[in-house]
C-alpha cells in the first residue's frame, strides 16, 4: 500500500529540490518533448534515447529517489507492456530495416516491431521518471503556485487562475490526508477479517465497499468542515491574495532552464534535419 512512488514529496535538500518550481515544470515539459521526438534511424534512436535515459536517471538519482521505486511503479504497467508487444507483433508492419524475425506461412514479423515496442516502453519509463523527479522534489503547494503563475496571463480571457490554483492546492493538500484515512479504514477492516489482496472476487468487492463507503463519508465531512472554516475566515474567491512564501528565480534556475532547452532543441534539430551522426562519421549503421 505504500508504493505511491508517484506524487509523493520527499523533503530532502538537493539542488533539484531547490530549483524554482516554475523552472522545473517547464524543464520537465521540454525534456518530455525531447523524449517523444521521433528520430530517423534506429541507431540514432538508440543513441539519443540512451543518452536521455542516462540523463534522466542522473537527475532522478540527484533527487535521492531510490531507483528501484521505478520498478515498483512499472510492476503495475507490465500488463500494458505485454499488450503493446502483442499488438506490435500481430499487426504486420511494412517497414523492414532490421531484418526478419520470423516468417511463418506469410505471417512475417520484422525485428522492427520489437524495437518499436521497446521504444515505447523506454519512453514511458522516462516519462514516469521525469514525473517522479518533479513530484518527489517539489512541494505540492509550490507546484500549484507555479501553475497559477503560468495561468495568470489567461486572466485576460477571464480564466479563473486563482480559483483554479486554490482548487488544485486543496485537492493536493488532501491527498495525504485521504491516504491516511484510507490506510486507517483499511487497517480497521482488516482486523474485522477483510482480505484486500486475496480471496474470491465477490468477497473482495465487499471488502472494497467497506473501504470506499467510510472514505466517502469522511471526505464529505471533511469538505463540509473545510468549507465552514473558509467561510469563517471570510474567504472570498475574488479577493486579492498575497502569499507568505514567494517563488524566486535564481541563477541556477536559469542554467537548468537553458540546459533543458538545449537538450530539447538538440533533439528537435537532429530529428528535423534527419541527421545521422553515424553516417556523418562514416560508420555504416542500421
Amino acid at each position: 500500500m505504500n508504493n505511491f512512488a508517484l506524487g509523493k514529496y520527499v523533503p530532502y535538500d538537493t539542488w533539484v529540490h531547490r530549483l524554482d518550481a516554475r523552472v522545473k515544470i517547464i524543464a520537465v515539459i521540454m525534456l518530455m518533448v525531447a523524449v517523444f521526438f521521433p528520430l530517423s534511424t534506429w541507431s540514432m534512436t538508440l543513441l539519443v534515447q540512451g543518452t536521455l535515459l542516462v540523463l534522466i536517471s542522473v537527475i532522478l538519482a540527484c533527487t535521492k529517489t531510490p531507483l528501484h521505486s521505478i520498478l515498483t511503479s512499472l510492476r503495475s504497467l507490465w500488463v500494458m507492456v505485454l499488450f503493446l508487444l502483442l499488438i506490435y507483433i500481430l499487426v504486420p508492419k511494412a517497414e523492414n530495416t532490421l531484418g526478419i524475425a520470423w516468417s511463418v506461412n506469410g505471417w512475417t514479423v520484422y525485428w522492427d516491431s520489437f524495437a518499436e515496442a521497446a521504444r515505447i516502453v523506454v519512453r514511458l519509463v522516462m516519462m514516469i521518471m521525469l514525473a517522479m523527479a518533479l513530484t518527489s522534489s517539489t512541494k505540492p503547494l509550490d507546484l500549484t503556485y507555479a501553475l497559477q503563475w503560468y495561468f495568470t496571463p489567461l486572466k485576460v480571457i477571464r480564466f479563473p487562475a486563482e480559483e483554479f490554483a486554490m482548487t488544485i492546492s486543496i485537492a493536493l493538500r488532501f491527498i495525504p490526508t485521504l491516504l491516511e484515512d484510507a490506510l486507517r479504514v483499511m487497517r480497521a477492516q482488516s482486523s474485522r477479517g477483510v482480505d484486500f489482496a486475496h480471496g474470491r472476487l465477490s468477497k473482495r468487492i465487499v471488502g472494497l465497499t467497506s473501504l470506499i463507503v467510510p472514505l466517502f463519508v469522511s471526505s464529505f465531512i471533511r469538505s463540509e468542515e473545510l468549507a465552514n472554516a473558509m467561510e469563517c475566515r471570510c474567504y472570498d474567491p475574488r479577493g486579492k491574495r498575497t502569499r507568505y512564501r514567494k517563488l524566486r528565480f535564481h541563477w541556477g534556475d536559469l542554467v537548468a532552464f537553458l540546459f533543458a532547452g538545449a537538450v530539447m532543441a538538440g533533439v528537435i534539430v537532429l530529428s528535423a534535419l534527419h541527421v545521422d551522426l553515424f553516417a556523418l562519421m562514416g560508420i555504416v549503421a542500421l
Partner: protein, 284 residues
Amino acid sequence: MPIKFENVSYVYSKGTPMEKQALSCVDLEILEGEFLALVGRTGCGKSTLVQHLNALLNPTQGTVYIDSFVNSADKKKRDKKTHPLRKNVGLVFQFPEYQLFEETVVKDVAFGPKNFGDDKETALAKAREALLRVGLDESFFERSPFELSGGEKRRVAIAGVLAMNPKYLVVDEPTAGLDPAGAKEMMDLFRNVHQSGTTVILVTHDMDLVLAYCSDVIVLDHGKVVKTCKPVDLFGDDVTQYSLQQPMLFDFAKSLGEKGYSFDAATLRDVSSLAKQIAQGRKK
C-alpha cells in the same frame, strides 16, 4: 505464553527523512485473563504497539508471539496466515466510528463474523447479541449507522469487534469524547467482557479508569516499556515523570493521610472502597 514481545522495535518510514522510531526494544508479556492497561504520554507508541498484536504492523526488529502466531521482523519466520490471528485478537481502533459502512447497524456488526466464516443467520444472531451487550436495543438494529450520534456509532463499532468473539480484546482509547456516564457504561461493558473470560488490553489516558478497572498496567515512554506493575503500585510512585496523573482517589487519600488517616493502598480501587476504609478507620 499467550502474548510475548521480544526485543521489538518499530520504525515508521524507514530510510526516508521522515524516519521515526516509535518502539524501541520492547520486551513484555501479557497473560491470559489480564485486564491490562497500556498508558503513557501522547505519541509514546501505544497505538503502534497494539497494531503488532494483529500483524497489521510487522516489527522492524524482534518478534511478537501471539499464542502460536509468530509476527517477526524476519520474513522467513513470520506466519503468513493472518486470518486466524485476527479472529483471535479483536482490535478496536481509536475513533472506530469512521469504519462503519453498511446500510443497517445489525448488518455492519455482522460483517466481522461473516468474514470469519459464519453463515448469514449465525452472523446476524451474533450481531444482535453483541449490540444488546453494548447497550443498543432492538430499535437501533435496522437504522442506518450514519444517522447515529458519535457515541452510538462507537458502540456499534465496538459491537462489530465483540461479535467476532475474540480471545483478546484490544481497545484503543474507547472512552475519548464520551460523556462521563457513557464512559462508565463502556468500561462496565469491558469489565463484563473480561469477566466472561476475555483478556482485555485497554489503551487509555484516564488513570481513574486504570485504577478502577485494570488488573495490570504497562507504562510506555518514548517507545520503551518503563514500568510493568499493578495499578496501585504505579500510583505509589511519582507518575508525573511519564506525563501521567495520579487518580483523583489517590490524591484524596494522600491528603487525608497527611491529616492523620492511615490507608491500605493495595485495596484502594474506587470511591466505595475508599469510603469503606474511612468508615472502618473511624470505628477503631
